[in-house]
Symmetry: D2
Subunit: 134 residues, 4 copies
């Protein structure tokens, strides 16, 4: 298992007239959780694309337990629970400033060879970096 925490500030752009974060904007927060959890391991998604591997999303699921509000500093706990193969799954737990869990999410992505457009195995560099966690 690999876990990493990221902080995100809710912006006015993220809110809607209900004064909540618009339900579609959590996907952006998930993206930040994923990308920063990889960067913390010394790996950027930008490098993966430069190596010719992209990671489109297959599934994305959200449970809205309580609203996120403007200017709150949210904590995103991103977890990779299982060793990735051709696919990789990220779980997220989002907490508000008082430490309350307000959101649960998960995203399933697939490694795709950008030249062939076909699914492929996780790049070796990523496998090595993640090896000690699984």
């Amino acid at each position: 298992m690999y876990q990493f925490e990221t902080k995100i500030r809710v912006r006015y752009a993220d809110t809607d007239q209900m004064k909540y974060v618009y339900y579609g904007n959590y996907a952006r927060y998930f993206e930040i959780g994923r990308v920063e959890s990889l960067r913390n391991l010394g790996l950027t998604y930008r490098e993966l694309e430069e190596m010719g591997v992209m990671m489109p999303v297959l599934e994305n699921n959200s449970k809205y337990l309580a609203p996120a509000l403007y200017d709150e500093l949210l904590t995103i706990v991103t977890t990779i629970k299982e060793k990735p193969g051709v696919r990789i799954k990220f779980d997220y737990e989002i907490k508000n400033e008082s430490g309350k869990v307000i959101h649960l999410g998960e995203t399933l992505l697939v490694f795709v060879n950008m030249q062939t457009g076909r699914p492929c195995k996780m790049p070796e560099v990523m496998e090595k970096i993640l090896a000690s966690y699984f």
Copy 2:
């Protein structure tokens, strides 16, 4: 069961550098599917809020079967399968221009009394309008 079809044009704003619609933007398409399916029944979400009822999202799930591309005219088939009570669930099937199903989604929302902040039953006006479908 109640079902309604809406057309949506993919905008440049919706795409990302993978040349696909960014995975977080389907929530916006779902919103359009929901709102237009209600408008077709003579009911607007704006009126619901004016009556003092809002509908925050509890769950939102997406399956990405194939990418949506820039300028495609997508068809969103929105379905309410079960009679709503305190909660209402919308299912979506998104087809691209060639009629291929590229996305499946579902959103669970709850009726909330804006004065008390507590869940409430579906407004009567909505119940009457939906009655013949269930």
Copy 3:
């Protein structure tokens, strides 16, 4: 001069907690105005990119005269005032449902040859289509 009108519905996704359309979302409305005004002439921006020409933005300016509100059906009047050369300028006037002008905007774009990355003249097909208006 060439002028075209497009209708746009304000979505919940577009609003912010001020209950106005978020100031950054007018750029999306401008995009829709531009693209639909070209489509009305029989030309799509998608085709321009397929021909190897893209149109990045050089300048974008907005004047917010009055807020746009949720679910309003806005009218975007898009105008090309001057014959385009290497650059093309679009002007926008946005009216709300009661016909009041609530927003003024303008966008300056440049034609770029996607192979060389250099500015280029407006594609011939576009010049022919626009010829009768200038």
Copy 4:
């Protein structure tokens, strides 16, 4: 004059199929520049709204000198050049990772009393905080 620097990471959500940051997303970056420049003075926009003052946008202008790319860590230099009265103007200069200025922007906002809906003077607490800079 008051000036402050903020760092922003470009997200996949921000890009479009040109592989550039979508032209409408700079408004979000400007918002972050403004809000963080005020927070650095000990003042949050959230508090201003809690005091009953909101700051809708009157004008927003952008010059796109060069594209911002995915995952770049941008620097936003936000400047208040003139002492605010009923209105406040922010200027922005955005630099990419190599220090090149890629974007210039400015936003004019107005202080509005949320009870009356009318323009009002800059709140006293803000005037005191800004006093030493003008």
